[in-house]
Assembly symmetry: C2
C-alpha cells in the first residue's frame, strides 16, 4: 500500500490533499477554539477534534483509508483491531458507506465500547489481548477483508494529516503546533502537512511521561519501543500504544521538531481547564497537547495550536476532575 | 436607534448581513455539531455557541452594537447592565477595541462573575438589584456612555441574527431551528434571518416551564411579563428575565412558529447528554433548545438544528450532572 507515497516511501502533501477531498462532508471541519487562559504574547487555540461524529480525529484516517480502497472494501468488507476511538471510527465509516465491518477487540475492552461498535452494525470479535493483531491479520487472509490499521498505514497518515491542512488554511501565520503522540498517525500526518505548507512552523509532539517512548526515540535518534506494562500506567488511555509505527517514525523523525513529556497531574489539570475554558469536552489523551504547551512553550512566543484529539471521557472521571 | 430597521421598525436581513460583516474575525464561526442520539428520520445538529470566546452567543450582539456605533463608543465609553454572559461579552469587546466599559451588576452577582468582568479591564458598579436598569441609564446620561442593552436593541438583535445566516449557509435544506427564549434577542434575530432566507423552515422557541412567559405570550397573542419570583426558580439561569423585550416581541410574534416549554428534569438530562454525546459543554440555558427538540419534535421529520447558546456552567453543577 505504498503506492500513494513518494519514492522515499513517505506520504506527500498531494496524498493529504486527496484525503481532504475524500473526507469532505463526512468528517467535521473542526474550528480553532481560542483558549483564553494564555497571555497575548503566546495565544493558544485548540483544534477541536473531539467534536467529530465519533468523538475523535480517528474518523479522518479511517474514512480516507476505506474510501480510497472502496472497491475492495465493498466487495469483502473491512477488518480492524482497536479497543478505542479507531474501532468506533471504522464501524461508523462502514455504517455510513454500507459496508461490512469486523472489529477485533481484546477481552479487556470495557463493555460499553464493545456495545458502541455493535450498535453501529459492526461485528465485534473478542480475543485475548496478545491475539489482537494476529487475529485481525488471520481474518483478513481468510475472508479477503480490507485491513484498516489504526496508525501504521499511508492512507491513515494522510487522513490525519488533513488536520494540518486545515490549521494552516485557517491560521496562515501559525508559529507552533502541539500534537499528542501514540502510534504516530496523527503526528506523522500533521507534521508532514504543516512542514510542506509552512516550514518555519514548529511541530511539537507531546507524550505522557509514563508513555514516553517517542520522546526517548527522538532523543536517541532511533525508534524505541516500550513494554505495555510501562505505558499502561498513564491516565491517557489513548496514548498507551507500545511505540510509534515504523512508517510513522520515518515521518516523525524528519518533520517533528521535538517531543516533550508531561506528568499525570499536568494532564488532569489541562482536562479541567479545557472543559471550563474552551467548553470542549476532552479525554485525558486529548488534553496532553495543551498540557505540553502549558509546560514547555515558555521559549516560544507566537501563535500556537494544540490538537484536542478526542473527547471520549467517562462520566465518572469527568465528575472527579470537576470536583477538583 | 431605529435607523437600522425598516419602516415597520423591524430589523431586516440587510441589517443582519451588515452585522455579519462587522463581527467577522471577532466572533467564532461556530460549527453545526451532529447529535448522534437521534434517529435518521429526524437528525439534529447543535450550533455550538458555547465555543465563543466569552462562552456564549452574546458576543455577536455586543460586538455588532459597539462597532456599529464606534465613534460614540470610543469617545465616551460604553455602559451595560447584566450579571451574566452579556456583561462578559461587552467587557470583552471593549477590551478588544480598547474602549472604556462600565458594567452595572446587582449585588447578588456571584463574585467570580464580577471578577471576570474586572479581569477584562471593565469597571463593575455594584448596586441593589432593583436599581440595575436605572443606574445604567443614569450613568449613560451623566457621562455620555453608549448604552449596550442586553436584548431590546436593533443592533443586538441583528448581531444575534448572524447565527441564522450561518445555519442556512451551512445547511441550506434545514427544516427546523430550536432557539432558547429569554429577553428575545436570540430568537428575534435568528427567526428574522431564517424566515427571510427560507420561509418554509420552522422556528421554535423553547423556555423552561418555570420561566414560560414567552410561551404564554405566544398562546395569548400578546406580550406577557412574569414576576422575577416566578422565573427565578429555573436552573436555566440565563433564561430568568421577566418577559421578552417590546421590539423583540414584534419579531417573535411574526417569525417564530411556536414556543414550547420543558421541565427542569428535561433540561438537566439534555445537559448531560449534550456534554457526553456532542462533547460541547453546555450550561442549563444552552441545553433548553435540545430539550425542546427531544420533547416536542415528534411531529416534525427532517433536519433540525438546536442553538446551544452558552457553556458557562459551574464545575460543581457539572460534577453533579455527571454523577447522574
Amino acid at each position: 500500500m505504498t503506492e500513494i507515497t513518494d519514492c522515499s516511501g513517505l506520504v506527500t502533501l498531494d496524498d493529504i490533499r486527496a484525503a481532504a477531498d475524500r473526507i469532505k462532508g463526512a468528517a467535521l471541519r473542526t474550528p480553532l477554539v481560542p483558549y483564553p487562559v494564555t497571555g497575548p504574547d503566546r495565544p493558544l487555540w485548540v483544534k477541536a477534534e473531539a467534536l467529530q461524529p465519533t468523538s475523535a480525529f480517528k474518523l479522518r484516517g479511517a474514512y480516507n483509508a476505506i474510501s480510497a480502497q472502496i472497491d475492495r472494501a465493498r466487495e469483502a468488507g473491512v477488518v480492524s483491531h482497536s479497543s478505542g476511538n479507531h474501532a468506533r471510527a471504522v464501524a461508523w465509516v462502514a455504517a455510513r458507506l454500507g459496508l461490512r465491518a469486523v472489529i477485533v477487540m481484546p477481552d479487556t475492552t470495557p463493555p460499553n465500547k464493545i456495545a458502541a461498535v455493535r450498535a453501529l452494525g459492526a461485528e465485534a470479535v473478542i480475543v485475548k489481548p496478545r491475539e489482537r493483531d494476529t487475529k485481525a491479520f488471520e481474518l483478513a487472509e481468510e475472508h479477503g477483508y480490507l485491513p484498516i490499521p489504526p496508525y501504521d498505514d499511508p492512507y491513515v497518515i494522510a487522513g490525519q494529516g488533513t488536520i494540518g491542512l486545515e490549521i494552516v488554511e485557517d491560521m496562515p501565520d501559525v508559529d507552533a503546533v502541539w500534537v499528542p503522540v501514540s502510534g504516530g498517525g496523527l503526528s506523522a500526518g500533521i507534521s508532514t502537512a504543516v512542514k510542506a505548507l509552512r516550514p518555519e512552523t514548529k511541530v511539537f509532539g507531546v507524550e505522557p511521561e509514563l508513555a514516553g517512548d517517542a520522546a526517548q526515540s527522538k532523543r536517541e535518534g532511533r525508534r524505541v519501543v516500550w513494554e505495555p506494562e510501562q505505558t499502561y500506567r498513564t491516565v491517557a488511555d489513548g496514548l498507551r500504544t507500545t511505540g510509534v509505527g515504523v512508517l510513522n517514525w520515518e515521518h516523525i523523525s524528519r518533520y517533528v521538531d521535538d517531543i516533550v513529556t508531561v506528568s499525570e497531574e499536568q494532564i488532569l489539570a489541562a482536562v479541567r481547564s479545557l472543559i471550563l475554558d474552551t467548553r470542549v469536552v476532552t479525554e485525558p489523551s486529548g488534553a496532553v497537547s495543551t498540557a505540553g504547551f502549558l509546560a514547555h512553550a515558555g521559549a516560544e512566543p507566537g501563535r500556537h495550536v494544540a490538537i484536542l484529539s478526542g473527547g471520549s471521557i467517562n462520566p465518572e472521571l469527568l465528575a472527579e476532575v470537576m470536583r477538583g
